[in-house]
């Protein structure tokens, strides 16, 4: 087991063959990251953001344009994948079709020339852990997606890697299998306590599995922190909108001053929300920015609330929670309420916002504006 350190990592694809030259042809840009021994780190980002490229560079399947990768304190830049002591679980399972499950799991050890009895012992040890005991004689084509993924992961961990890499292991599974497998992975990782990098575009997977999340967009690391940190304290608009389901409400706002107090006001809407006191040092009359607040933190005020009355545009009852949508200009502001009342379209409610959960973002850069 070992930690992982990425130092000023760059990946640039040679676009000379293509007709169109793209301006941003760095797939990964100045990525710095330290992942402690035994930590489970999720690389999270939309497709094409460079997370899989980074994973491949760590695995040694992709050349590094610039920068350093350390596994433990070994510099692995130039090492062949097999010498990096990694286990890799693939998105497409990548099973060897002519071999049965046993052969697939044992392949790595056989390639290394491990003793036959030792191989057998280790396969028999891993199989119950991944619940593939009954499948060992089957051929890959006969397996379901979930089973293939179990074998795939078994194959990655049988070599007892210092670093376990998983490339979107759940993305080809359907809803139920996906959930089951997620629990499975959590259980497995708790058991083998291996440093793990887990690539995903699903924030739910990242939030539920990871000790730390690295959110990547356009090849640039946006934020690296625990699930709670990235959820409660996003560094910019991208992170704020990417984490959480439904996503954070982010509204363009102009701040006005009335009676010595600041208020958020919105275009084509009479909604106004008091600006939390802690922001008074950074805002001014006419200041434009974006305001972000999670749907859970927008509340329906009681009858004596001094919130602005607003008309409900959409109402969804999801059983254990209810989602209300309200038009603020041309944006739909979502709020989630757990109270039992069934609203309908056109009902008037009073909106309140949890002040301590309100975030401000720069209107141009999307960076978080913090209170001073």
């Amino acid at each position: 087991m070992a930690g992982l350190t990425l130092e000023h990592l760059y990946k640039r694809y040679d676009n000379s063959g293509k007709k169109k030259k793209t301006v941003n042809d760095y797939a990964v840009k100045d990525l710095n990251l330290v992942c402690e021994q035994g930590e489970f780190v999720a690389f999270l980002g939309p497709s094409g953001c460079g997370k899989t490229t980074t994973l491949r560079m760590i695995a040694g399947l992709e050349e590094i344009t610039q920068g350093n990768i350390y596994i433990g304190d070994r510099l692995v830049n130039e090492l062949h994948p097999k010498d990096r002591h990694i286990g890799l679980a693939f998105e497409d399972y990548a099973m060897y079709p002519p071999l049965n499950v046993y052969g697939n799991v044992a392949f790595n050890l056989r390639a290394k020339g491990v003793d036959k009895n030792e191989i057998d012992r280790r396969v028999r040890e891993i199989a119950p852990l991944m619940q593939i005991d009954d499948l060992l004689d089957k051929m890959p084509v006969k397996l379901s997606g979930g089973q293939k993924q179990r074998v795939n992961i078994a194959r990655a961990i049988i070599r007892e890697p210092e670093l376990l890499l998983m490339d979107e292991p759940l993305s080809h599974l359907d809803g139920k299998a996906r959930q089951a497998m997620r629990v499975e992975i959590k259980r497995l990782i708790n058991k083998i306590k291996c440093t793990t990098i887990y690539v995903t575009h699903d924030q739910l997977e990242a939030m539920s599995l990871a000790d730390k999340i690295a959110i990547i967009n356009f090849g640039v690391l946006q934020q690296f922190g625990t699930p709670t940190e990235v959820y409660d304290d996003p560094v910019n608009e991208f992170v704020a909108s990417f984490i959480g389901e439904p996503p954070m409400n982010i509204l363009e706002t102009t701040i006005i001053k009335a009676d010595g107090k600041f208020y958020f006001t919105f275009k084509d809407s009479n909604l106004h929300i008091a600006v939390p006191k802690r922001y008074y040092s950074v805002v001014s009359d006419g200041f434009r920015c974006k305001m972000g607040v999670r749907p859970m933190d927008v509340l329906v005020g009681g009858p004596d609330s001094d919130g602005t009355p607003e008309e409900i545009a959409t109402f969804e009852n999801l059983g254990d929670e209810r989602r209300i949508g309200i038009h603020v200009g041309d944006v739909l502001l979502m709020l989630i309420t757990e109270d039992e009342k069934r609203y309908k379209r056109g009902d008037i409610i009073k909106l309140e916002v949890r002040e301590e959960k309100t975030h401000l973002f720069d209107i141009e850069t999307g960076d978080r504006i913090r209170e001073k």
């Binding site: 063959g17 399947l61 399972y93 002519p98 390639a111």
Partner: protein, 274 residues
């Protein structure tokens, strides 16, 4: 009721297949029949005649027929061998790598099969004369690439495309070098496609007539050209012609029967499913 319907359908299908088989095999049977007839009986259309082996004796023992077969084997086999050596890496590159004008290149390779041989054979004749390739094994093997290479590249490329890149990555992480991956993992996976396309390429090369007729003369003499010798200006030995044709068809038929299973599967399915 349903089974009765199915049975009727089954019988009908089989009858149709048998009719087609007769239709397809008749020329072959007719050729073999003629090969056993004496020249005087060639033109009778009845199936009753006095079988004779004299044609076989004449062709196999008293002519250079063995040499023609050998020449055919050398040029066709050589052509397929070169196609495999060149075509498999080419197919891999076309399937795996992205480079400028990739599709155009692939299509250009395919387009070599479009041009009628007779169209290109005269310029080739002049070039071959100048280069000293005229009437040589290498010359014919080279020109046969027009026939065998596009077929092989396109079939094998499809197989490579069906193999997930991740299998290669997995093997790399498992400690294989690129060459080991290629020969131990990929080649077995493309084998059905490779075998069947190589066989087809061999048959096409074997049957090629225009190229050897124009681009070779006395030193290299494939059977397709040799057969024409039995049609003289003054006489036509149809019996011997039929023997030559029958014998020349044997290698292709033997190959096809041997790998029949591969042939159908190889050309109709992808390499890897799941």
């Amino acid at each position: 009721m349903k089974t009765g319907k199915q049975r009727a359908l089954n019988i009908l299908m089989n009858v149709l297949l048998i009719i087609y088989a007769i239709f397809a095999l008749f020329p072959l049977v007719w050729m073999i029949l003629i090969s056993f007839k004496s020249d005087t009986e060639v033109f009778t259309t009845t199936f009753i005649f006095h079988p004779t082996l004299s044609n076989y004796q004449q062709v196999l023992l008293r002519s250079d027929y063995a040499r023609y077969i050998r020449d055919s084997l050398i040029v066709s086999g050589g052509a397929v061998l070169v196609s495999i050596i060149v075509g498999v890496p080419a197919a891999y590159a076309l399937a795996r790598y992205n480079f400028a004008r990739k599709e155009e290149l692939a299509f250009q390779i395919l387009s070599y099969k479009f041009a009628p041989e007779i169209l290109v054979v005269l310029p080739l004749f002049m070039i071959y004369q100048k280069l000293g390739l005229y009437d040589s094994y290498i010359g014919l093997i080279w020109v046969y690439q027009l026939i065998s290479l596009p077929l092989l590249i396109w079939v094998v490329r499809g197989y490579f495309e069906d193999i997930s890149v991740e299998i290669e990555y997995a093997a790399q992480v498992d400690g294989y070098s690129w060459y080991q991956i290629f020969f131990k993992m990929l080649v077995p996976l493309i084998k059905p496609g490779l075998v069947s396309s190589a066989l087809l390429a061999f048959i096409f090369a074997w049957n090629s007539f225009t190229f050897p007729l124009i681009l070779a003369s006395s030193k290299v003499y494939p059977v397709t050209v040799a057969i024409t010798k039995y049609l003289g200006t003054d006489s036509a030995h149809y019996g011997q012609l039929a023997v030559a044709a029958t014998v020349s068809a044997i290698p292709a038929m033997v190959f096809a029967l041997c790998i029949q299973k591969h042939l159908v599967r190889g050309l109709s399915f992808g390499a890897v499913k799941g």
